[in-house]
Amino acid sequence: MSQSNRHVLPGFSLSLGYTLLYLGLLTIIPLAACFGKVFSLTFDQFWAAVWTPRTIAAYRFTCTVSFLSSVASMLLGFVIAWVLVRYEFPLKRVFDALIDLPFALPTAVAGLVYSGLYVENGWLGQFLVPLGIHGAYSRFAVVLVLTFLGIPFVVRTLEPVLDSLEADMEEAAHLLGASRAQTFWRVIFPTLVPAMITGFALSLARGLGEYGSVVFVSGNMPFKTEIAPVLIVARLEEFAYAEATAIAVVLLGISFAMLISINLLERWSSKYHG
């Protein structure tokens, strides 16, 4: 892929022009409309829309559940990736394929089925509710469904890194007298950290914006289990477009910060691996 490609291969202006036109129409203009709408508000109006006790509770709830579920995804995803890459067990290929299901399954379906599984007479709820674990219409319910959505991000970012680990390094550590635990913590683990953080960030970004599955399982109780996108929808249904947009801009700000940090992390981790 060199500069000279442009003189040999055709279609540079056509493909780039079309790409820019399509991106402009579908993403840049709508984003501009969003920010344009917000600038029609005075700062006081903006602040009154985005900083009320109810919105603060929603931001806090959204951030807490996304963070908790991303931690869970990172830990469970690590174990799954490790087992899938290194061990052999029956039906391994089926389990491996199933990891991608949360990417392919409509979130409304995930929400629907999760809301039924953990109620008192649900398949899993009948065992958990007597123990005092409420996996439906609670904060835990949202963490569960977001973990379901987040795990494939962690597994699929970790797998190639685990796969590319050189056997020599482990062998060398072993020959030099390191115990298996030392080898793991000192040799293997440090090389996995960047991929784990990337997987964590990806599932966090997904969790912050998720709507479809959460509205089914959370119960949407104001001040308790209400997420920020639900507030946007509520404002829209009152035809309070400017207020809805103000909250949306706050969410966009968080998303962009996440996007930038993911890109930086990816660059950092690719440098880490040479």
Partner: protein, 303 residues
């Protein structure tokens, strides 16, 4: 979101000899945790969807799907909206991948990041942006009304929202595939006198076909399953602007669980088929790469 799944296979698996050095307790323990996690979080919900859908028997299931005209309409509407998004993003994905994977230009990294943007915008916000543009009070709202065009609360809005959320899929899949293949064969075709379209159809498309197909099925799965963005622009007019996932939600709100699960079972089936196609495509990619490696080594031996 497919930002981390590519069909380019990773290298050979680590030799089992290394794994066997982990103590048996660790191996069994971790395997158990992994299987339990996948079982509880993924397998049980899938089985539950079909169990609930068929709990009332086959006849009731069939009635729930085709006996209700609104449900039937939602299925047909989804079948009309999803292909539009797939075709639009297929053309875009090929153009974007060609520009990004074959040429160097200033702002290339920024463009790649921009393509990923819809992944990090909450779907609800995506829907809202379209309402701000094309809704009654939106920037183009009055003009559209005067010309008798309705976008929001109508099918065109559903299509636009779906296009937005599925925009990155094909491009994200193709860029690494095209970078991995390289441009030697295309350069050769052009220098042997092929026209641009000849080169594209005879060299590029056969080379990227599995990646292309994989991008299409991922894009399709998301297009059919999209909820948040479509929820905002649809206006929930039963029998007019409800797609399948919206229908699932409406039936759930009406406490009609058997019907809701019946529609959900169709969507789940689609997800499972998507996974199956993915496995097959991965297999084919691996085989093609192995074959091309073998033919290169034979060519090398002959010279």
């Amino acid at each position: 979101m497919a930002s981390v799944t590519h069909i380019i296979p990773v290298q050979g698996r680590v030799a089992p000899a290394i794994a066997s050095r982990d103590p048996a307790v660790v191996r069994w323990g971790l395997t158990l945790v992994a299987i339990l996690t996948i079982g509880v979080l993924i397998v049980v919900p899938v089985v539950n969807v079909f169990y609930q859908a068929f709990a009332g028997g086959l006849v009731a299931y069939w009635e729930n799907l085709v006996g209700d005209p609104d449900t039937l309409h939602s299925i047909l509407l989804t079948l009309a909206v999803a292909p539009v998004a797939v075709v639009a993003n297929l053309i875009f994905g090929v153009a974007a991948a060609w520009a990004i994977a074959r040429f160097q230009f200033p702002g290339r990294a920024l463009l790649t990041a921009l393509i990923d943007l819809p992944f990090s915008v909450s779907p609800v916000v995506a829907g809202l942006m379209l309402v701000l543009l094309f809704g009654m009070q939106g920037y183009f709202g009055p003009w559209l009304r005067d010309h008798g065009v309705q976008i929001i609360f109508a099918t065109p809005g559903l299509m636009l929202a779906t296009c937005f959320v599925t925009l990155p899929f094909v491009a994200r899949e193709l860029i690494p595939v095209m970078e991995a293949i390289g441009s030697e064969e295309e350069t050769a075709a052009i220098s042997l006198g092929a026209s641009g379209w000849q080169m594209f159809l005879r060299v590029t498309v056969p080379n990227i076909k599995w990646g292309l197909l994989y991008g299409i099925i991922l894009c399709n799965a998301r297009a059919i399953g999209e909820f948040g963005a479509v929820y905002v622009v649809s206006g929930h007019v039963t029998g007019r602007t409800d797609t399948m996932p919206l229908r699932v939600e409406k039936l759930f709100q009406e406490y009609n669980n058997p019907a809701s699960f019946a529609v959900a079972s169709l969507l789940t089936l689609l997800a499972l088929v998507t996974l199956l196609v993915k496995v097959v495509l991965e297999h084919k990619t691996r085989r093609d790469l192995a074959e091309s490696a073998r033919s290169t080594s034979i060519a090398g031996d002959a010279s």
